[in-house]
């Protein structure tokens, strides 16, 4: 019964979305305030119904209701509870439902937190958001209904893909979706601004916090996914330039660019056309990613099903929304007034360069991802574009970005002084060069690793140069600096941490060059030395899990005779799907990791193992956490709340009038 009500709630959500996609926009065109005023409450109701539908599906999964096709195909009664819940979005239908849930969540958030927004802007934003919601709700109801019943319910389900039965995968999709779909809000803002024709710094100030929220979630979601790939795929890699990964990287690059150019638009009222374009682009790339992942044109663990109807439906959504917004853009952008002037060497100039490089990077990823698909469609020839392509194109574009990042932060708005900025990051440059020389003397090793580590040190220290100057400038004492720190906008600290995070990630990436790897068949009792650690395989024993059986290789890691850690890499066999997967044994030592995965047993009692020493590898993800932390700091900046404060003031001013 709950399942049927869930289905019904989804239909109601569609009806509400249709209402909201027409009424508020009509209201804003005709200036009817009553029509505009319905948008927030309809958005909240739409969210409530979608959330109920999601709850109904979750309920069916949790109670293992095998009369539901979706549960039968993706669940098993012996599956641990956490994977019964995460199994809700571990399949095509459920993940699309999650997508729509996040979409309506953001609409509801706009409805709740935008009291200070101009009425017509809010009505238009929620209206556009409802178009997207309506399109995807139709997609679910017509092609991917998660609530389809089976005439004859089987006794047992087929279980979830073992690769997805992992705590990392339980949180990766929701986080990534919050980022992906969060960009829909920036898209709606852009479209709404184009409809109402009012594109100014007020728009930039409202759109920036939403972009930040989406960007933070996207950053964390991508990092989470990469860590998952690292420890479950068992080859010690964390980024494969797989089209599915690229599909999430492209919106991230666009959102990063957008984040920087909204700053220019907010502060200086310049780059308006470009900001609007990027806002459209970022969500378009999200839609493209959804299409690539969900349509079945790619092979990966993410491609759950390949029903051609679904691909065509998403392609249609893609064409309508990207094409429609670009037409709107073309009609309106010409009429925009030019904003503030600035010299090429200025903060604005640096941010323009940042945008230029980020979007170019994005374009190379786009080409590398779609070229093989296009070639196959046109000529039937199958090719793969792998890491070498991206290293060659992405690298040379990102290095200048790293080099200019700290300097750009030190430039003044309007007209900057390049020599002065370079002087301010002098300490960082010196530290970077010193790090390079020290590493070259100590490790020698690959030139790329040495150079990139030096750049990383420069970026990390240089990111704080501006904050340092603002705190300690003019020889201020610690007490005075503390006073100043309270007065400094949190955005300044946020930017410093986020930029330092990029540097930390780069350091982790650079250090991969000093890693060590051994692929060897080991017998119990045998010891192998990898990267200065002695890894001893103690014994291999079978063990039973809740819905799998596993071979566990109990292993001890020693350094100079002392036990450092014990790890238990395993291979698991899931009988329900007759699939196996490996579970790497990872021990974090400092920021480095000893990583071991095991394969099948060989005839003579030995087991195939892969052992890595990965120095500083944890920094790759710590850097991403730092970036998200910096984003969070920026988000808590009081300038985002000024609008709310002003409304409170107006309300107070208004109350005496009511009394009159």
């Amino acid at each position: 019964m709950i399942v049927e009500t869930g289905h019904y709630a989804l239909v109601l959500a569609l009806a509400l979305a249709l209402v909201n996609s027409v009424a508020p926009i009509c209201g804003s065109v005709s200036g009817d305030r009553r029509l505009m005023a319905i948008a927030p409450s309809v958005a909240l109701m739409g969210f409530a119904f979608t959330a109920y539908a999601f709850f109904a599906l979750t309920y069916a999964h949790v109670t293992s209701d095998f009369s539901l096709a979706n549960v039968v195909e993706n669940s098993h009664s012996a599956k641990p509870m956490i994977y019964k819940i995460s199994g809700v979005w571990g399949n095509h239908e459920g993940s699309m439902l999650l997508w729509v849930l996040v979409l309506s969540l953001f609409a509801a958030a706009v409805a709740l937190f935008s009291g200070s927004m101009p009425e017509d802007l809010r009505a238009n934003v929620l209206g556009v958001q409802s178009w997207i919601a309506a399109a995807f709700l139709l997609f679910i109801l017509l092609t991917s209904n998660p609530f389809a019943r089976l005439a004859e319910a089987p006794m047992e389900g087929a279980d979830l893909n073992p690769l997805l039965q992992d705590p990392g995968l339980a949180i990766h999709p929701p986080l990534l979706y919050l980022g992906y779909v969060g960009l829909s809000i920036t898209y709606s803002f852009a479209a709404a601004a184009l409809i109402s024709g009012r594109i100014d710094s007020v728009f930039a100030r409202f759109v920036r916090p939403w972009t930040l929220v989406a960007w933070i979630c996207l950053t964390l979601g991508i990092a989470m996914g990469s860590y998952w790939a690292y420890y479950t795929l068992g080859w010690g890699g964390f980024w494969f330039w797989d089209p599915v990964e690229n599909a999430s990287l492209m919106p991230w690059l666009a959102a990063t660019a957008l984040l920087h150019c909204t700053l220019v638009m907010e502060k200086r009222d310049a780059l308006k056309i470009w900001t609007i374009f990027l806002a459209i682009l970022a969500f378009s790339l999200s839609l493209l990613g959804t299409f690539l992942v969900r349509s079945g044109v790619l092979t990966s663990v993410h491609a759950f099903a390949s029903d051609p109807r679904r691909g065509i439906f998403i392609l249609a959504i893609l064409v309508v929304f990207i094409g429609g917004s670009l037409v709107l853009f073309a009609l309106r952008a010409g009429g925009l007034k030019q904003g503030g002037l600035f010299a090429p060497i200025s903060r604005e100039g640096a941010l323009v360069l940042n945008n230029l490089l980020l979007t170019t990077c994005c374009a190379t990823v786009f080409v590398g991802t779609l070229y093989p698909l296009a070639l196959e469609a046109l000529t039937g020839e199958k090719i793969s574009v792998g890491a070498p392509f991206f290293n060659l194109t992405f690298g040379p574009l990102f290095v200048p970005l790293f080099l200019l990042m700290p300097i750009g932060q030190c430039l003044a708005w309007k007209r900057g002084d390049l020599a002065g900025a370079a002087q301010r990051v002098f300490v960082a440059i010196a530290a970077g060069l010193a790090a390079m020389l020290a590493l070259a003397a100590w490790r020698g090793g690959p030139v790329a690793s040495v150079v990139l580590s030096g750049i990383a040190v420069y970026v990390i220290i240089g990111s704080f140069a501006d904050v340092w100057r603002r705190l300690f400038g003019g020889g201020a004492s610690f007490a005075a600096a503390g006073q100043r720190a309270l007065g400094l906008p949190r955005q300044a600290f946020g930017a410093a941490f986020a930029h330092a995070g990029i540097g930390v990630t780069l350091l982790g990436l650079a250090a991969t060059g000093w890693g060590a790897e051994k692929i060897i068949a080991m017998k119990p009792g045998e010891t192998v030395s990898v990267g200065g650690y002695d890894v001893t395989l103690d014994r291999v024993t079978p063990r039973a899990g809740p819905n799998y059986s596993e071979m566990v290789a109990a292993t001890t890691i020693r350094s100079g005779g002392n036990v450092v850690a014990r790890i238990e890499p395993a291979t698991r066999f899931y009988p329900a799907r007759r699939m196996s997967r490996s579970e790497a044994g990872i021990s974090t030592i400092g920021f480095g990791q000893v990583y071991m995965s095991i394969g099948e047993m060989t005839g003579n009692g030995a087991v195939n193992t892969r052992i890595f020493w990965k120095p500083l590898v944890a920094l790759i993800w710590i850097g991403a956490l730092l970036m998200a932390f910096g984003g969070g700091l920026s988000l808590s900046d009081r300038s985002f709340r000024i609008g709310v404060a002003r409304r409170a003031g107006k309300a107070r001013a208004g109350s005496p009038q009511l009394a009159e």
Partner: protein, 149 residues
């Protein structure tokens, strides 16, 4: 600096970045593309020895052997043609006889495919799409043969 000059600076720097990216992409696409062939296509097209390729098909039943030095030999088949593959290293979890596999490497003088990577790419049905397509081309694999469990 006038508005015009500013715009020219902006446009020229944008063009420069674009030209750089296009140049890099062209170079990268020329040297770093890897073609995919099924066994029959491989026999037909006879790519140059040493050129990087991907091949895919089914691991032939009974062809798998492990040498004492941990070298692995097996054959990839599409039921019409076989290719002998030599590989040294760890195999992905899902590697087994009779199932789909994708290998990356190059052909040697002896017509043996020297793989350096065995790919674990697969969908939930255990069949790399490239392999399924290659098999379909040879009429060996029909849609619906592999029902999802």
């Amino acid at each position: 600096m006038t508005r015009k000059q500013r715009r020219i600076t902006l446009i020229s720097s944008a063009l420069f970045a674009l030209a750089l990216a296009v140049g890099l992409m062209l170079v990268a696409l020329r040297d770093n593309i890897v073609f995919f062939y099924g066994p029959s296509e491989l026999a037909q097209k006879a790519p140059a020895v040493g050129k990087r390729l991907r091949i895919g098909g089914l691991v032939k039943e009974g062809s798998f052997s492990r040498q004492p030095d941990e070298t692995i030999r097996f054959k990839v088949t599409d039921a019409r043609q076989d290719v002998a593959v030599v590989y040294k290293g760890a195999l992905p979890d899902l590697f087994r006889e009779g199932q789909g596999v994708v290998a990356e490497g190059a052909l040697g003088q002896d017509g043996v495919f020297w793989a350096d990577t065995i790919l674990a790419k697969h969908d939930e049905r255990y069949m790399p799409r490239e392999v399924a397509d290659a098999l379909k081309k040879q009429g060996v694999w029909r849609e619906g043969d592999q029902k999802s469990p």
